[in-house]
Amino acid sequence: MRRVFLANNTNELWDMLRQYPEAAIYAGGTDLLVRMRKGICDPSALICLERMDCLKGVREEGDQIFIGACTSHTALLADPIVQRSFPVLAAAISRLGSPHIRNMGTIGGNIVTASPAGDTLPPLYILGAAVEIMSMDKTRRLSLADFIRGPGHTDLKPGEILAGVWIKKDQPYNIFSLEKVGQRKALAISIASLAALLRVSGEGIIEEARLAWGSVGPTVTVSKEAESFLAGKRPEPGALGEAARIAMDAVSPIDDVRASKSYRRLVSGNLVLRLGASVDGNSPQPAWLPPAD
């Protein structure tokens, strides 16, 4: 029989982990329990974090916001700080799974799963999020980009848990855009996604751009080249088309059941064209024909 423990606080959690070092931890279970059911993993014991109130909620500390790892997606969507300060994250979460999945699933579970299609990851990358990792005797912090090591791999060591994420409260952007392309609106794992933050001046010039694509590489794809190319330009079809071409070179998609490599590459570029629509409500037309590959 597989034992299942409910930790209510960190003391209980460390005791459980000491006694059952082989135990798998879970929060909402929407990834882990599905993987167990499919026979991908078979842990001898489970520790559930859903009652760890100390790992839930959103709070302000100085110029930073801390989001507890065990906060559900539904709770994040309802949170005024998230709505106000990180609308790009809220937009991504509103497209994650379904209402039921969002009631159960947590931001910590989404991060630690480290799926190439993890919907919170592109926004968290461009918001410059850092993760806080906790073990019995210490806590450490590192950037999300350093924490995610590859598909399904993180820097988490045995005995460590993700406590939450830190995001700088005042972000220097005035436009956000979140595009998720899937086979339907709900319950669709993304085929390609783009999270973007722009600072556009009163004259309509992009002063700074942050872009991150999901589902088109082993982890989140960023392109410093596309970002710096856009700086100083107007979000018009010419410049966006060139940034899109740069993006299509930056991504490294694969063929799978959901879409082909070439489709993903094309969509990654076309999503950049839509940034114009986020800026002024006009959607530029694709500036080139699909590539031959």
Partner: protein, 157 residues
């Protein structure tokens, strides 16, 4: 393992494996077969139950997680006087065909109505977007929920 929770308004203490899926506990151990299972992986919503009023998927929840919670299954919403008025609305609008998704649809809609007594059609569609129906095309389900919400008095017992 002993688990204590409130099921459909009654306090219960049962002996079960802690890693028993809640859907199996309901259907096989407690005989509450109104909770359906189809995908077994969180994608269809047939196994929806309410846990402390919130719609959750019993196929990806383990028995141990029920400790101290209050659970509502489809069996718990009708009383001795008959069906819940929302169920009556489903019947009146032809929102049921094969019926397999219906318990999940009804419970999910009740959770929505608990938070938002007068939802718009858009809010209803959004709320049931995790409940798949392969027969009705959803329109009649949305009609039923919408009519129930706006004409609650008509259905009030």
């Amino acid at each position: 393992m002993k688990i204590r929770f409130c099921l459909n308004g009654k306090n219960l203490e049962i002996e079960t494996r802690p890693d028993r899926r809640v859907v199996d506990l309901m259907r096989e151990d407690l005989g509450l077969t109104g909770t359906k299972e189809s995908c077994g992986s969180g994608e269809c919503g047939s196994c929806t139950i309410l846990v402390d009023g919130q719609a959750r998927l019993s196929c990806i929840m383990l028995a141990a997680q029920l400790e101290g919670r209050s659970v509502t299954t489809i069996e718990g919403i009708s009383g001795e006087e008959g069906l819940h008025p929302l169920q009556e609305a489903f019947i009146a609008h032809g929102a049921v065909q094969c019926g397999y998704c219906t318990p999940g649809m009804v419970l999910t809609s009740l959770a929505l109505l608990g938070r938002k007594p007068c939802p718009t059609r858009k809010e209803i569609r959004e709320a049931i977007s995790g409940n798949l129906c392969r027969c009705t095309g959803y329109q009649k389900i949305v009609d039923a929920v919408k009519t129930f919400a706006s004409e609650r008095k008509v259905y009030q017992r």
